[in-house]
């Protein structure tokens, strides 16, 4: 954007960015360090930026008070299923909207896009009633089916369509001359090329499912069925106040693995999302 910066400007920019970083980085640091402090130290004054003594028993309490392993598994398998399911449903739909001529394609595309306008919060009351009638309340089905097929997958379909539109037509023409059917063209030619778009779909679908909060608290009622976000808020004392050290330990266990995966794969994360936006 600009020619080389002067050394003074450089220092100023680094300084500004370091100050701006505090609210982005410090909470995570505070979460991890406070979770290993003894309870008497977590509200200590002056605040202990680095723990002076450690208490690891907090972590065993996380598992004693709730079926935390089970809840972890619930969140993980739901997020995995939703991610894979959304990738399949939206890459197929996105491909068809971009590359196949079929009657009413535009009308149907507009109907599907309506899903972007209707956040799941709008339809939560009837969805609850529908799943209640189907006997699926306090099961994971609503948290799996609605994101894969309903409104949350529409954005993914839109991203996939925007990607498939940019593929050169010659690729497919050659395959057709070779006698490949539509599904084979999709699977053998289009889909492998769509890896960057699929990666960004996978990332935001996973995060969306991993973070769901309203739906679990509406649909789930027993501790073994809870997902992580819901479980974290359940570590409360007899008066309903949060048991801070235990909540922070459980929050650390929830946040850290995803954070580590992100740091390892951050190039794909950030660039994948950037491409999504550019073409949007």
């Amino acid at each position: 954007m600009k020619a080389d910066l002067s050394p003074r400007m450089r220092t100023a920019l680094y300084g500004l960015m370091c100050v701006l970083l505090i609210p982005f980085v410090f909470p995570t640091w505070w979460m991890v360090t406070s979770s290993i402090k003894p309870i008497s130290d977590i509200f200590a004054f002056p605040p202990q930026l680095i723990p002076q003594s450690y208490d690891w028993t907090t972590y065993s309490k996380v598992f004693e008070l709730q079926p935390f392993v089970r809840q972890y598994w619930n969140s993980a398998y739901i997020a995995a299923l939703v991610t894979v399911g959304t990738m399949i449903v939206s890459s197929m739909a996105g491909y068809a909207f971009a590359r196949i001529k079929f009657p009413y394609a535009n009308t149907i595309f507009m109907i599907v896009l309506l899903g972007l306008l209707i956040p799941s919060e709008v339809t939560i009351v009837p969805l609850f009633q529908m799943f209640l009638k189907a006997g699926m309340v306090n099961t994971h089905w609503p948290l799996i089916l609605v994101p894969i097929f309903g409104a949350p997958s529409v954005f993914a379909t839109f991203v996939m369509r925007q990607f498939f539109v940019t593929l050169p037509a010659e690729l497919e023409d050659a395959a057709r001359v070779d006698g490949l059917g539509r599904f084979k063209i999709f699977r053998k030619i289009a889909l492998p090329l769509a890896r960057p778009a699929l990666a960004s779909v996978a990332i935001f679908t996973f995060l969306h499912s991993w973070n769901l909060f309203l739906e679990p608290i509406v649909f789930l009622s027993s501790a073994e069925m809870f997902t992580l976000p819901q479980a974290l808020t359940q570590y409360t004392d007899a008066y309903g106040g949060p048991m801070w050290n235990i909540q922070l330990a459980a929050a650390t266990l929830t946040a850290l693995p995803v954070l580590i995966v992100f740091v390892i794969a951050q190039k794909h994360f950030v660039e994948g999302l950037a491409h999504t936006g550019l073409k949007g």
């Binding site: 899903g115 089916l145 929830t254």
Partner: protein, 310 residues
Amino acid sequence: MAVAQENAYPEGRSLSPFWTIARRDSLAGFLFIAPQLIGIIAFVLIPLGLVFWYSLHEWNVLANTFTYTGAQNYLMLIEDESLVEVLGATAIFSAGLVVMNMSLALLLAVLLNQKLAGIAIFRTLFFSPVVVSLVAWTIVWGFLLQKNGGINGMLLMVGIEGPNWLREETTAMISVIVVQVFKNVGLNMILFLAALQGVPKELYEAARIDGAPAFKQFRRITLPLISPTILLTSIITIVGSLQVFAQIAVLTQGGPGLSTTVLVYYLYQQAFQFHFFGYGSTLSIMLFAIVAVLTFAQWQMRKRIVFYES
């Protein structure tokens, strides 16, 4: 018949007169979109119809009655004194969030667009809250914002006695906005950064030769050229701000009073805590109308604001 010809398709030329390429494509197209379309019908369109239907009824879950009352729930919207406060809180929350999010995202994107060593590390760190579990992020902020929590502890070290952030109306609203901004600003930042990198460098060189100061370059070149991204992100951010629920539920439960009760939280309370499913549905329709009007308005504005579209 059809099956036999499906097998014959690899030969390509030996198609029956009926299964032309166009017909095959139509069938394939419908099959490809079927899962998504059926999903939208089952989980979006039917529920939308139902929510409207429910909104015309008084629904007593305990007595198990469901009576048609026409527009009565909609009249209740006008008489509901809490709703005025709720809509006010929603407007302040959304406006504050969008303004803070967009300007911070733009500032960070401009900073990250500079040629500096190690800039990728800063990018990673600014983005990192996006991948931190939402409720975990909210819990640690709730912990920091306690009266004797980390933020007030640090303020006290420089001699300032901080407020009880989550228990006073103004600071509670500021807190929920700020927590949400830092959580998600990284997304918009990355979208802006990608847009900035797409601005042709020759334009800046030409402007510099003409002696245009940096601020003018930003206003006259950068902003117009990234305006499509600004429009897109502002739509996503506004619609997203109307869906914020977990942060409110964890940090303030809508309080103190109704000061942070945004529309989604109020809807949840009416429907799932007080079991007013009819009135809850009416509030859902209202939320839908607000989202639709805002999206439509912004889409209309693109003609005036957006400089060009790629």
